[in-house]
Structures are given as structure tokens and as C-alpha cells.
Symmetry: C2
Subunit: 256 residues, 2 copies
């Protein structure tokens, strides 16, 4: 936990009183004392500092912070993720990992190789997945929760929703091992945000790939190695960030 | 399991008899029958095909394969990892993930912020970590086990071992949030293999960074977000692969 996050409604007259795992973290891990300054942030709001005003170091822990926030200038994440619903335990890890890496929106969608039982898991409910997003923010020192939308019907998503949202992106790509295209060729010469799609274990079906292509999405492959979904999500996020960083460096070298 | 791996000593007259989790996988997941052809590979050897000769589908499962191998032309991994020993449960996941992504050698080293208890965990023993490497190979369809070396004394490693091994690499870089250098600048204009270093939770100490710099290693940062070690290992592997792929594409575009 590299930042103490709180909800807007928890703050009263710039005072924040913590009694849960955050208080426990401040007492047991940070070993804070009265007067110490901690990094704090309002979920989907500004970041700032919290001065420890009172602290009860015996269980049940209570910490009171005096909070001052400064306007947030963190840039909005440049990458969104389109993900075939993975196994619940893997989804939890993916949600906190991509939130830590920085992602603006996660579309969780169906695919023919998604096991039906995954849709019955608690994790697709807002109350269950939200803590994993918060964990990612607490890790990365960020306050901006990624948006999550859940689309249980593949065809309805790809025909009705996807065409509407693609205008937000400069590049929209889908990982597909059969492709002969590379990620850098897909992104070459393009500006703007990137949407990347990762299929289920076993990959996207032919029908799914055809439907993606109909909307204008391009397929890419990172080579012959078959990766687990969680590894692919993180490694390809890294690849896209590297390419986006390269764009910025190129612009810096060649000012107009 | 996308390839059935076996040890050289298990093969007799091109016949392989399986009675363990591999037999169980062939019966229960692949649901194979006599005559089916499976992808097989000898650990640190060639890949090929195994024809199911006999199969006992009731527990305890037994599968007999007739194996034919073809010379392996998989290129040797271009990336090695220098990793401060992480928490055992995280190390297991990292080992299988980087093996799946492709890594030639993993140096597990000490650092001031590595908890001493991590060195007492079973996972630093060959018999305990090897299955996690094999899992990575089985996932990625590869037979080449990464080398692992374990260095419990940071200073001895960085003074005596590191200078000897750096000649194998075209680039040797260490992730360090305070750096103002980017990964692409570190690798620009360089050829050859890449060694990348990832520190412990909380980062490398100042002494450690100074010692790395003395050997000629360069520091880079991927930005202000603080990542968990497992996320950083995979995302930065992805970034390096993207840069290496870019080199190949540049060469293809500008033949000599």
C-alpha cells in the first residue's frame, strides 16, 4: 500500500478517521506516529498528504488524519483492455495488475472458449471486483479507478457496442497467434489511445476473429510461444507502453 | 500443458511410458485415444511427436507413446533476468511466467531489502524450483530450461561474478524508479543479448545501485507507477522483447 485511498464521503472537514485495514497498515507496517505525513488520495479524485493527528496503536486500531489535497495532474491512461472473461482467481490478479500498470477501461466479454461457470462467479459483481482495482491503485499510487463494463453476449458486444467505442482509439488490436502482423506494425504511424484484446485460454474462435476484423480491429502476434492469459495481459501491456513511450521520444527528437 | 515434456532417461527404444500427471493430463484433459499424435519434447533436447500406442483410461492412468524427434531450431532466449530474491510464493509464479515468456538464465541474488527468511524457503532448492520452470516450458511449448544460479552474498556477486558474465550481453540494465533514463535509450544502438535487473519490494538500496553502476550497468525507469515485483518482471520483459523485435524489423527494412 503506497498510498492511503479514501472515498469522498469519508472526509469530513478535512478529517479522515480510519478503523479498517488502512488503520492496521498505518500502525503495523508504516509504524507511524502523531505528526507523520502520509500520502493520501481520494478515489477518483485528488492526491495529497495526511498528517497523523491521533493514532490508537492497540487493536482495534484507529487513525485520524488531517488531509490536504492538491489538484491532480496525472494523465489519463492511454491503454484500455478488452478481455475474454478468465477464470475468477486469475481475473482478480489481472485486475490489480493492469490497474497498477495503468488502464483506463476494461471490457470483460464472452467468447466461445470462456467456461460458462466463470460468469456465475462473484468476481463479476461490482462489490467483489472493486477491492482488486483499489489494490492496484494503492500499489501504483494512483486514484483513478479503471472503468469496468461486462458484456455477456459476444455478438451483441461486437456488433452494437464495439463500433461505438472504437472512435476513442487511435489503434485497436487483438492478440491472435495465427497473425503474421506485429504489434509495432499495428501501431505504426498512429496516434491516440490503444485498445488491446486478449482472448481466453485456447484463444479466440474463428468466428470471433472474423467479427473483430469486420469492426476494423487488427490482429497481431508476439511469436510462437503460448502464454497464459495473465502473463499475456501484462507482457503485452508492457509492449504497448514501450511503443507509446517510443512515440513520445520520437516527438521529442523531431519537434515540428 | 501444450507439450508433453520428458527426461532423456525416460525414453527407451523411442518408447515413453507415462504414469504421472502427464498421463492424467493426456487421459482427462486431452481425452486422447490410441493413434492420436501429441506434441512431445525432451527436456533440454529436441521436440517431436508422440503417437499414443496404449492408453489405460482408468486410474491409475498409464499412457505409452512412440516418440520421434526432429532437430530443434528454437533460437536461444535473448533475455536474462537478474532478480533480487522475492517472496517464495511470488518467486514460483515469476519462474513459470518468465520461463514461458523465454529467458536464458535467471540470477537470484540478495539485496538489503530481501527478507532473510526468503533464503530459508524450500523454493531456492533445485528440486523445488524445477517444476515451476517445467510448467513454463509446458505452457510455452519449449524444451530449454533456463539456467538458474543463486547468489546469497550481494557484494561477492556484484564484484566477482557480475563483471565476468557481462561480456555475454550487449545491454545490461537495472530498473530503478529514480533514474531519468528510459529503457529504449539504454538499448539504443546496441546489439546482442539483454540482462535486466529487478529489485526487491521497496527497491534496490543506494549502495546496490552504486555497485551496479561501477560494473557498467545502466539504470532505467518506466515511470512513476510503483509495481509489484511479479508485475514488473513480466511487463519489463514485454518491453525488452518489443525493443528487440523493433531491432529485427529495422534490419529487415534496411538491409545492408
Amino acid at each position: 500500500m503506497n498510498i492511503i485511498l479514501f472515498e469522498k464521503k469519508e472526509l469530513t472537514d478535512s478529517r479522515l478517521i480510519l478503523r479498517d485495514h488502512r488503520a492496521s497498515h498505518i500502525v503495523k507496517v508504516l509504524k507511524s506516529n502523531v505528526g507523520d505525513i502520509l500520502r493520501v488520495g481520494e478515489v477518483d479524485g485528488d492526491m495529497g498528504r495526511g498528517v497523523v493527528v491521533t493514532i490508537k496503536k492497540k487493536y482495534p486500531f484507529i487513525v485520524e488524519l488531517s488531509v490536504s489535497l492538491t489538484p491532480d495532474d496525472t494523465p489519463f491512461a492511454s491503454i484500455d483492455l478488452l478481455l475474454a472473461l478468465p477464470r475468477p482467481i486469475m481475473l482478480k490478479r489481472i485486475l490489480s495488475q493492469v490497474t497498477a500498470l495503468g488502464v483506463g477501461h476494461i471490457y470483460l466479454i464472452n467468447a466461445s472458449r470462456v467456461e460458462k461457470s466463470f460468469w456465475d462467479a462473484g468476481i463479476v459483481n461490482h462489490m467483489e471486483y472493486r477491492p482488486h482495482l483499489l489494490q492496484g491503485l494503492e500499489q501504483a499510487v494512483d486514484t483513478h479507478l479503471p472503468g469496468i463494463s461486462i458484456h455477456r453476449r459476444f455478438k451483441a458486444f461486437v456488433e452494437d457496442v464495439l463500433p461505438e467505442i472504437l472512435c476513442q482509439y487511435g489503434s485497436f488490436v487483438v492478440a491472435h497467434p495465427d497473425s503474421t502482423n506485429t504489434l509495432s506494425r499495428c501501431l505504426a504511424g498512429r496516434r491516440g489511445r490503444v485498445l488491446y484484446g486478449i482472448g481466453p485460454e485456447g484463444g479466440w474462435g474463428n468466428f470471433e476473429i472474423e467479427k473483430f476484423k469486420e469492426t476494423g480491429m487488427t490482429c497481431f502476434s508476439t511469436g510462437p510461444r503460448i502464454l497464459k492469459v495473465d502473463t499475456a495481459v501484462v507482457a503485452i501491456h508492457g509492449r504497448i507502453e514501450q511503443l507509446l513511450e517510443g512515440r513520445v521520444e520520437q516527438l521529442a527528437e523531431c519537434p515540428l
